[in-house]
């Protein structure tokens, strides 16, 4: 047997597949005489054994369980946010149009009625106490005078000392630091788990980074359903000592201008 012939059947030989007994015997004899083909056969056997072990999958396992929970939560959120339309069979198309037209007609009638009533009502005078329609003047200025102090206190509160784990997304108006064409939605700052009061940051830097979505799941946030890219942006508060103190996640909304 030649080496070329041996190479053709080395895979079958290593895998223990059925072959003609004489052919098998000749191949093994050739391998015992040719060191290069013997090594080739050993490599084939190694590959075969490794592939079989990998196919069994015991070493590589499956996706972690928390991923299933996160995905199920994302699925439920998606269904809740935008109920999936279940196609109703045999519904005439014209019915929807008629309903739409009827709704528009009702709205128009209500609008006309309101306009007529407003036109017929006497103009409000300042002394007319009985005018229930007129809203009472709001005296909120004293309260508002107090609020700035509270706000300043809130601002002065160290970011790293925040213990609130509320993860409601809040919309932030674009500031001069932001990219002018983008709005951002950010989470609250989430203190990192190893943070202690003693290590609270006095001064530091906020770094904008991109993280894999598993970082969201790691801090207990739901993974975004609408994400199109596989990275999420985040602001990390890093102290002067280089230790990360808190993180918040950022979503850049599409421009609606």
């Amino acid at each position: 047997m030649f080496c070329r012939d041996f190479e053709k059947i080395a895979g079958d030989l290593a895998a223990g597949r059925l072959m003609e007994a004489g052919k098998r015997e000749r191949a093994l004899r050739h391998a015992s005489e040719c060191s290069a083909c013997a090594l080739w056969l050993n490599a084939e056997r190694t590959l075969e054994a490794g592939l079989w072990a990998l196919v069994e999958g015991a070493e590589e396992g499956e996706a972690p369980p928390h991923l299933k929970l996160a995905l199920r939560a994302a699925f439920d959120r998606q269904v809740k946010a935008a109920p999936i339309p279940i196609p109703a069979p045999a519904r005439p198309r014209n019915l929807a149009r008629w309903r739409l037209a009827a709704a528009a007609l009702i709205l128009f009638a209500v609008a006309v009625a309101v306009a007529l009533l407003q036109g017929a009502a006497p103009p409000n005078s300042k002394g007319d106490v009985s005018g229930g329609v007129s809203p009472a003047p709001r005296e909120r200025s004293p309260q508002r005078a107090i609020e700035p102090d509270k706000q300043e206190q809130k601002i002065e509160t160290n970011v790293a000392k925040k213990t609130s784990t509320k993860r409601h997304m809040r919309r932030r108006a674009a500031t001069s630091d932001d990219v002018a064409s983008n709005d951002e939605t950010v989470t609250d700052y989430i203190p990192l788990t190893y943070l202690a009061d003693a290590t609270a940051v006095e001064s530091g830097t906020v770094l904008r980074v991109e993280l894999p979505p598993s970082a969201l799941i790691a801090v207990g946030l739901p993974a975004p359903v609408e994400r199109t890219d596989s990275r999420v942006k985040a602001d990390v508060v890093v102290g002067d000592d280089g230790v990360a103190r808190a993180v918040r996640f950022v979503r850049q909304d599409t421009v609606r201008r």
């Binding site: 030649f2 080496c3 070329r4 041996f6 190479e7 080395a10 895979g11 040719c34 060191s35 290069a36 083909c37 090594l39 080739w40 050993n42 490599a43 084939e44 056997r45 190694t46 590959l47 054994a49 490794g50 592939l51 072990a53 990998l54 196919v55 999958g57 070493e59 590589e60 396992g61 499956e62 996706a63 972690p64 991923l67 299933k68 996160a70 995905l71 199920r72 994302a74 699925f75 439920d76 998606q78 269904v79 109920p83 999936i84 279940i86 894999p212 979505p213 598993s214 993974a223 359903v225 609408e226 994400r227 596989s230």
Partner: protein, 207 residues
């Protein structure tokens, strides 16, 4: 209900899922997540990427599942197709996870010393070492060879399904698989370098 779902086809589960059935989604996830996760893991060598890819695949299924066309392939092929796209995208971004061959497309050149198997592998290496050797060798393959190994040799897909995932003819899958196997064997053999393949063949004239 759960028993019914476990016997449902992938297509039926997808249909129910798209109608808002969370249990159907879970059943489909349970059935397919392992394959998708392992494919991404074998392609990337990174558990983090594999997890992210698995996540992305099922999020994409929720969002774009209506685009599935049974005429183009099975649900499994559809999922592997998304996984392949996402994995390759991630690998482009994070090349550092994969040690690619430096000697041209075939990757048949320089090979890691760790991939050298001396003597009888069953005598010299433990099972885990063998697995590690093979895993490293697969990770060192060029991507177009690695994916056919991950899909066909290691995955549950037939050549036809792999062809629909990759978007190439079945013959291409076969030839890539043969070539990939040849590269793997070469990497796993001790003495066969870039020219070793021709060495036994040239020696055959003397025999």
């Amino acid at each position: 209900m759960a028993k019914t779902l476990s016997h449902s086809s992938d297509e039926e589960l997808l249909r129910l899922m798209l109608a808002g059935d969370g249990d159907a989604f879970e059943a489909l996830y349970d059935r397919r997540q392992g394959g998708v996760y392992r494919f991404a893991l074998r392609m990337s060598g990174s558990a983090e990427i594999a997890e992210d890819v698995t996540h992305d695949v099922f999020i994409a299924l929720m969002r774009d599942g209506r685009q599935f066309d049974p005429a183009r392939g099975s649900v499994a092929s559809y999922l592997y197709g998304i996984a392949r796209h996402r994995t390759l995208k991630r690998l482009q971004r994070e090349r550092s996870f994969v040690s690619m061959s430096e000697d041209g497309e075939d990757g048949g050149g320089a090979f890691d010393e760790k991939l050298v198997a001396d003597g009888d592998p069953f005598a010299d290496l433990t099972r885990s070492e063998t697995i590690d050797l093979v895993r490293q060798a697969i990770l060192a393959l060029p991507e177009h060879y690695r994916e056919v190994v991950a899909l066909c040799s290691l995955g549950e897909l037939s050549y036809e399904q792999a062809a629909s995932v990759i978007g190439c003819p079945v013959g291409t899958v076969r030839s890539r698989l043969n070539r990939a196997r040849e590269i793997l064997v070469r990497k796993l053999s001790a003495v066969k370098g870039p020219t070793a393949k021709s060495a036994p063949n040239s020696a055959m004239a003397a025999r």
